[in-house]
């Protein structure tokens, strides 16, 4: 009621308040916090109680300033809308958990400016190191140029064996090859690749794998079509256009650069001409999306070990941070074939 309202200060208690309440020195409190074994049980008890009463929360800033380091890593994600990156985050978190470390995330949306900004923000935070997911080789170059050496940084989802950084990525060329080889093994011979714009490096790599597989079999691609994008609607259009040729026997296999694409194709095929999949044409997708699994005709696909990618990447980073003689490595993970109805024979 008066202006001298004794406004209770929830202003967070400090270590010295705890020390006072527990009747010990701040050094002992600090020990109780970081080296429990160094302090006697009864003392520990009083301290813990004091901490509880005051709702004391250590100040991380002071802590890392004094300790000279953090207990967390930063992870910059390219695209929160893509389950691959979410898997990566999961894997990285699992690896961090093992060591009692935490992972802080940031979303770059694939924009160079934001990739830059968050790498720097994390640098200021003095995280132990940063994991950066990248799709675009040009971004890689830009960041390498700007990056203040000394801050451990490993690149995810982009391969680079120049030895300047650790990188971990998934072999898209191998994936494209895998998908195509599977179609060949099930007896298909007239195969077409349905990809996206060349600007997407992963798609381009898959296309190269496709070509190599055909070449090894002594075949040449029937065709390669590049819709403007890689979602279901695009697949539907492509499927419609392809239906004719499938019925004419000109095409008996389709390698799609994404599951959404594949799902659209299969759908268009069955609606527009009642073309039996997999009997008359085998279709395989990429990504192991839910869409592929959910489809009325479950679609064969290539699964990417996203979680393992994050896990491996985090370990690379941990090694770089902890091992004195660390040498940069470029790890490439292998995708995996998942056979479902759409390619059965």
């Amino acid at each position: 009621m008066s202006d001298a309202a004794p406004r209770e200060e929830p202003a967070s208690a400090g270590i010295k308040d705890v020390a006072a309440l527990a009747g010990v020195s701040i050094a002992t409190v600090s020990n109780a916090l970081n080296h429990r074994e160094r302090v006697a049980a009864p003392t520990l008890d009083r301290i813990d109680r004091a901490i509880g009463m005051l709702g004391y929360i250590p100040n991380g800033a002071a802590r890392s300033l004094a300790a000279g380091r953090t207990r967390s890593f930063g992870l910059v994600l390219s695209d929160l809308g893509n389950s691959l990156f979410v898997d990566i985050a999961r894997g990285a978190e699992r690896a961090a958990d093992e060591r009692g470390l935490s992972i802080v995330l940031a979303n770059s949306d694939g924009e160079l400016e934001r990739e830059d900004r968050y790498v720097e923000l994390f640098a200021e935070t003095r995280v132990r190191g940063v994991l950066l997911t990248l799709n675009d080789a040009s971004h890689f170059r830009a960041i390498v140029g700007r990056h203040a050496h000394g801050q451990p940084l490993v690149m995810l989802n982009l391969h680079d064996d120049s030895g300047r950084y650790c990188t971990a990525s998934i072999d898209n060329e191998a994936g494209g090859h895998l998908a195509t080889a599977h179609l060949l093994e099930t007896g298909r011979r007239r195969i077409v690749f349905v990809g996206g714009p060349d600007s997407l490096q992963p798609v381009d790599d898959r296309r190269r794998g496709f070509r190599r597989a055909l070449a090894q079999a002594g075949l040449t691609p029937v065709d390669e079509v590049s819709p403007t994008w890689v979602n279901r609607a695009d697949g539907w259009q492509v499927g419609r256009a392809l239906a004719e040729r499938v019925r004419a026997g000109e095409v008996d296999g389709i390698v799609a650069a994404s599951d959404l694409l594949a799902a659209g194709i299969v759908q268009a095929l069955s609606e527009h001409g009642a073309i039996p999949v997999p009997d008359q044409v085998g279709v395989i997708g990429y990504d192991n999306n839910q869409a592929a699994w959910d489809a009325p005709i479950p679609i064969s696909t290539i699964s990417q070990p996203g979680e393992e990618l994050g896990f491996v990447g985090a370990h690379l980073l941990i090694d770089e941070v902890e091992q004195p003689g660390h040498e940069h490595r470029a790890i490439r993970l292998n995708p995996e074939l998942i056979v479902r109805r759409s390619t059965e024979r």
Copy 2:
């Protein structure tokens, strides 16, 4: 070659190195960093150059320790696999950007233990405040109990007007009502609700909205079915089971608790009995997923303003942090009807 190798120290330069190189005091460097207007142009120039040469990066820990606060917020997300939460993150980032603040993310996977842990980690980091997304009312209670008051915390996606916290959420009951009302307006009268397990609070709210809309129209639900989950495969099964009754004229409208569910239903309907949607039965989904938009028969749906939710939530938090007389508010956002083919008349 000798063991006295003059290992170059990339050990990050400090503010005093910059000061030395620029021939000024550290206070001036600090001013150059935080109050550029206070320092003379030529001096500024020398300092900037020095910073560049040394690759100086301010130590965030020291900075916030001295300043007493951070320039970032924490955001704990329930489910990175759900686009709603990704949208929330986007909105929150946009709000933060406006004020020159950053947002750090963490993924709780909806697990109480991780929600707790990250709220605490952020507390230690002394972020300005924390945004926490929650699905489960029981988690809310647990966290409220444990939470050390004083740390600004706003809850997202969960409504609570007890006045203890700011909350921002989307009105799922209204969404269910909206969907049902739309079906009623297009002349449907025999409507069934297809939901998920009751344990999902949002689904349950939508069901309540459905009931209310029917009651207002003086109708009773034809039926309510609860598949074990809410994805496409579940919808497909439900659709198969429903086909018979639709053909018999017992059902002419379906409110699904998710777009995936709706897509599966429509698909099963058209395959299993060639039942024309929307002519014979209107189907509406929820979420405004890509799946709904991509489907061969585009599906009407309820769109959730996730980005706005994040935006509003961040503003609530900013207000709580900056305004002395702040009072907690519980904001409820309205979902929106999106009409597409599947309910046309």
